[in-house]
């Protein structure tokens, strides 16, 4: 290092940029291929110039990426999917981690969650849509009009039965890549429970309004359903019986978002550590000030804790453990809050340059800030956790 201070070789610093999981060679390949592809196709300089792009990415970026297996891990082998290690969400979290590291665009979360829902339903009627989504030829968007921490009355979408048809009313926002989507997985409440349906975007009665978002390359819309009528074959799962399936989908989404955020935190932290060694003030490197060293130590503890709870969440979900629900919500709440705090602290330590558009840091700040919101804020997940605790102590 030119800064004159001895700095430990990165390799000695523990598992700084390793997930905790021991990776199989296939997993390593999946991760490395994704990393190389993202570095080549969506470098931050390119994303910076394409902020006004209506989709945030070119269609062939998504289809070529899908060919690397991005949307296959949560789909059963019977339905044409499969994961390289057999541990579905763990493999997906490796891809998501690289998405975060590169602040990559594209609806990774929703396409995977919708694909998993279609696969779980085992419904051959959805096979064609599922294949198109897996191949990256169609984009799926998730219209979550009801979330598991909400009361039925708080749902923003209703799905009713009329004869052989389903009739959908209401609206939901934000929906990622709504304008690009070929399919919407719509979740709403019905008499007697929660219902999910797969609706082609071209169906009459659907209106999409583009929304502005703090992320540079991810685009969102508000989707309205005005007496949208689809045949009962659109059902994903049973009418009124999708509550548990939705909870599982939300947990999968939460793990993907957590892994993405951990990747983004890692990138932001790494560039801030480098900055601390390179930036001199009052004749000393920033890294030599104890006031800053202690903040770096705190950030490092948040980062390692985030890695740890994210991996634990992916593991518990992959292994179908009873504690998966608690672990995933803990991860989403912890990383949601501390990912943002870490990124903001990185901005603070960078000083003024940290809030310029030309610097790379804001991409990661945007990523963790938006991920904090999607599929439940820390507050939502903490209330959900509390409900689980109360139930557990009542049972005991």
């Amino acid at each position: 290092m030119q800064c004159g201070h001895h700095r430990l070789d990165k390799k000695q610093t523990g598992d700084a940029d390793q997930m905790w999981h021991e990776l199989t060679s296939d997993q390593q390949l999946l991760r490395d291929t994704t990393a190389r592809y993202l570095a080549d196709r969506v470098p931050l300089d390119r994303q910076r110039k394409q902020a006004d792009h209506p989709a945030g990415f070119e269609p062939d970026y998504w289809t070529s990426g899908a060919e690397l297996g991005w949307i296959m891990p949560l789909v059963s082998e019977d339905m044409g999917g499969g994961s390289v290690s057999g541990r579905d969400i763990v493999d997906l979290s490796l891809i998501a981690y690289e998405f975060g590291r590169h602040s990559a665009p594209g609806p990774l979360v929703d396409c995977n969650v919708v694909a998993s829902a279609l696969s779980d339903s085992g419904d051959e009627g959805h096979a064609e849509a599922l294949e198109a989504i897996m191949m990256g030829q169609a984009i799926a968007a998730n219209c979550l009009g009801w979330a598991p921490w909400q009361q039925p009355g708080e749902a923003t979408i209703s799905i009713a039965r009329q004869g052989d048809d389903l009739v959908i009313n209401g609206s939901v926002r934000p929906v990622e890549s709504a304008a690009q989507a070929g399919y919407f997985l719509v979740t709403g409440t019905s008499d007697g429970g929660v219902t999910q349906a797969l609706v082609p975007a071209s169906t009459a009665g659907i209106t999409i309004k583009a929304l502005k978002a703090i992320d540079v390359s991810r685009k969102f819309g508000a989707v309205s359903f005005d007496n949208v009528r689809v045949p009962a074959s659109a059902l994903v799962g049973d009418f009124g019986g999708a509550g548990e399936a939705v909870a599982l989908q939300v947990r999968r989404a939460a793990v993907v978002l957590c892994a993405e955020s951990v990747g983004a935190m890692e990138s932001a932290f790494e560039m801030t550590v480098d900055w601390a060694f390179d930036r001199y003030t009052f004749g000393r490197a920033l890294a030599s000030y104890q006031a800053l060293k202690h903040r770096f130590a705190d950030m490092k503890s948040w980062l390692e804790a985030s890695h740890a709870i994210c991996d634990a969440a992916a593991d518990s979900l992959a292994d179908g453990l009873e504690r998966a629900a608690e672990t995933v919500s803990s991860a989403k709440a912890y990383i949601g809050e501390n990912g943002v705090e870490l990124a903001q602290d990185c901005v603070q330590i960078h000083g003024g340059i940290g809030v310029t558009y030309e610097h790379d840091l804001h991409f990661f700040l945007r990523r963790v800030t938006l991920n904090r919101l999607l599929y439940g804020t820390p507050g939502d997940h903490r209330r959900w956790l509390a409900a689980m605790q109360i139930e557990k102590e009542l049972a005991a």
Partner: protein, 416 residues
């Protein structure tokens, strides 16, 4: 090592039978080590001494201690098997730490055969309770900056100074002490370890009353205490080599192979209610803000455990200093959890009627004591230095004592 060592499973079966026949159920003061007053504490001490003697007479004391010093000369696997069989039973909790570890572990590693013969069998029979005399009032984190001095006088040493934060020294028998024996060399090169009886003239032991009313910790004052040279451990001025191993044993705590205690017993079992129970008592259980706090409390518990697992894995593979991350996180998370419980308890944690069933006074006391989790066993500030310097490779803090004779190291304020 003898080749006719008893197989672990055979030992386990024998241990199970003996434990069932001889030991009663676990007592509440075995779990929390908390007694309501000194009288109860002394009863517990006498019980522990008798219990340790019973285990010795039963042929199960000092499982990993050599046979020549009264132990069984078996392996850590044998000790683990015994601990597993001991689960749910009473045990001499006041001997586990610090008598067996780090005191007996350090004696075994560094003492002469004569010294070991004098003390290890006595410890195993329940006759000697030991404490470690390390920390001083003049400095906590800077262990090597001690100023308690031992000066040679013929075949004796004369000890003067003070040690502090010694748990339960007021009823203990012996202490392992680190003292300064040379002031003209840099700080790490002028210390020596001694064995010192606590019940003798010149040793005054005061109880330290903590703000929550507990007074198990003590401060000891040594005034012209004469120690025979035969109670010196290791070479003169080479005490820091022993001290680093001593502190290594200390960090092992109850996980040391020399400690016998029931498996699965959380050593920091709290008297505090769960957040759900606290919120019920305070009537906040249905308040959404309280629900968020309950969830955060649970979240921090799970994150702490996940991080501990990750670090244990990383530490064995790569970098031992990673444990500083775990220490830092645990301290800070515990502080936050304590604050959450306090918030959930409402006014009942600050002002309560002790005749009411809903009393949540333990929450208030734990809140007042909450910083202990960031102080005890090395402060979080020191952990932050370790993380920044040894893991992130940032420049070390300047120090005033490197390569300087200890006599010349600044030790107090120099204000104009």
């Amino acid at each position: 090592m003898s080749t006719d060592i008893e197989p672990v499973e055979q030992f386990r079966a024998r241990a199970r039978e003996w434990i069932k026949a001889n030991l009663g159920p676990l007592q509440s003061f075995d779990r929390t080590q908390h007694c309501k007053d000194d009288e109860e504490e002394l009863v517990a001490v006498a019980r522990d001494r008798a219990l340790q003697r019973k285990i010795f007479d039963g042929g199960f004391a000092g499982i990993c201690m050599p046979k020549e010093y009264g132990g069984l000369g078996l392996t850590p696997e044998h000790n683990r098997a015994f601990n597993e069989e001991l689960a749910g039973h009473e045990y001499p909790s006041r001997f586990a730490v610090p008598t067996f570890n780090p005191c007996a572990s350090t004696i075994l590693e560094f003492c002469t055969a004569e010294q070991k013969a004098a003390h290890l069998p006595a410890i195993l029979k329940g006759d000697e309770v030991w404490v470690q005399l390390l920390s001083e009032p003049g400095g906590g984190s800077d262990v090597a900056g001690i100023t308690t001095s031992a000066v040679r006088d013929g075949d004796h040493w004369v000890l003067n100074g003070s040690k502090v934060w010694t748990s339960r020294a007021w009823w203990a028998d012996w202490g392992l002490i680190l003292a300064r024996t040379n002031w003209d060399v840099p700080k790490h090169q002028g210390m020596t370890v001694f064995l010192v009886p606590l019940r003798q003239e010149g040793v005054e032991i005061q109880r330290i009353v903590r703000l929550n009313g507990e007074s198990e910790a003590c401060q000891e004052y040594f005034t012209d205490v004469r120690i025979p040279d035969s109670d010196r451990v290791g070479e003169v001025d080479a005490g820091w080599n022993i001290g680093t191993r001593w502190m290594f044993h200390e960090r092992m705590g109850h996980n040391s192979p020399y400690v016998t205690y029931p498996s699965g017993l959380g050593m920091s079992a709290s008297r505090e209610d769960s957040p759900v129970a606290i919120a019920r008592k305070s009537g906040k259980i249905d308040d959404p803000a309280a629900r968020e706090l309950i969830g955060e409390h649970r979240e921090l518990g799970l994150v702490t455990r996940a991080l501990q697992n990750r670090i244990a894995d990383a530490a064995t593979k790569a970098n031992k200093d990673m444990s500083a991350i775990d220490r830092l996180f645990r301290g800070v998370a515990s502080v936050r959890r304590s604050t959450i419980s306090f918030e959930l308890a409402g006014s009942g944690a600050s002002v309560w009627d002790e005749e009411e069933e809903a009393a949540t006074d333990a929450v208030g006391m734990n809140f007042l004591m909450r910083q202990i989790s960031c102080i005890g066993g090395g402060t979080t500030e020191i952990s932050r230095n370790v993380v920044a310097e040894r893991i992130l490779g940032m420049p070390r803090e300047a120090s005033g004592d490197k390569g300087v004779p200890f006599r010349e190291v600044p030790k107090g304020p120099k204000r104009a």
